[in-house]
């Protein structure tokens, strides 16, 4: 499983982690490209139902970051 590339759905808060991710891009820090980002206005908006739905639709992991 060495070259397995997981699909990860990332729920990022618009004001915190999304801006952090943006800054990481601007300052050209390298990070793996497995994340599929969903921008939310607050990480409190993320419902457990979204997480289960993400798994149902075939992703391998979920990251909630705020």
């Amino acid at each position: 499983m060495a070259d397995f590339e997981p699909k990860i759905v990332a729920f990022l808060c618009n004001w915190c982690a999304y801006a952090g991710a943006d800054l990481a891009g601007v300052s050209r820090l390298q990070y793996p490209s497995n994340l599929r980002t969903v921008r939310v206005m607050c990480s409190g908006r993320v419902d457990p139902v979204f997480i289960v739905k993400a798994f149902k639709q075939g992703c391998d992991g979920v990251l909630v970051s705020g």
């Binding site: 915190c16 982690a17 952090g20 990070y31 289960v52 798994f55 992991g61």
Partner: protein, 163 residues
């Protein structure tokens, strides 16, 4: 709570990560992202077809009224007290939440197994890997809330169907 549920559903809690990153911490975001990806990599691919029924049950559980009420009331009943004025400590609240979570999840799993054509308690047990006694116990609950009905005997075994 969701991690507990994913653990129950056999998805594994290591597939769900939560982290706080401020907008100024680009390096921290990179670390969190890398860390998440590596942990998920170790878990291997999620076979969502094999886990479909368990995920469906998990989704029904987190959408269920009981669980959503219980989660929504957490701060109120642990800080101010419930409608009878009793204040619950956090440990007690959590143990009840997890108990209820397990019960709802197993009930939904049984419901789905019967929906998919398992008729007797033994069929359900083979499909869901739950104990026979636990299934009979939860079936009584499902019958009471009109989700499952007893349809008769087949080869001297009771059989059930969803409503």
């Amino acid at each position: 709570m969701t991690q507990k549920l994913l653990e129950m559903a056999g998805i594994g809690k290591d597939r769900l990560h939560l982290a706080w990153v401020s907008s100024a911490e680009a390096q921290r975001f990179v670390d969190v992202a890398t860390n998440t990806i590596n942990t998920v990599k170790q878990q291997g691919k999620l076979d969502s077809k094999a886990a479909a029924m368990r995920l469906e049950a998990a989704e029904m559980t987190v959408s269920s009224e009981t669980i959503r009420w219980l989660v929504g009331k957490e701060v109120k009943i642990t800080a101010k007290g419930d409608v009878y004025g009793r204040k619950w400590d956090v440990d007690k609240y959590e143990s009840i939440l997890y108990m209820e979570l397990e019960r709802e999840y197993q009930k939904n799993l049984i419901f789905l197994a019967i929906k998919e054509g398992c008729k007797s308690v033994r069929d359900v047990s083979d499909k869901t890997e739950l104990e026979l006694l636990r299934i009979s116990y939860l079936l009584a609950d499902l019958e009471k809330t009109n989700r499952v009905e007893f349809t008769g005997m087949e080869n001297s075994k009771p059989v059930f169907a969803v409503i």
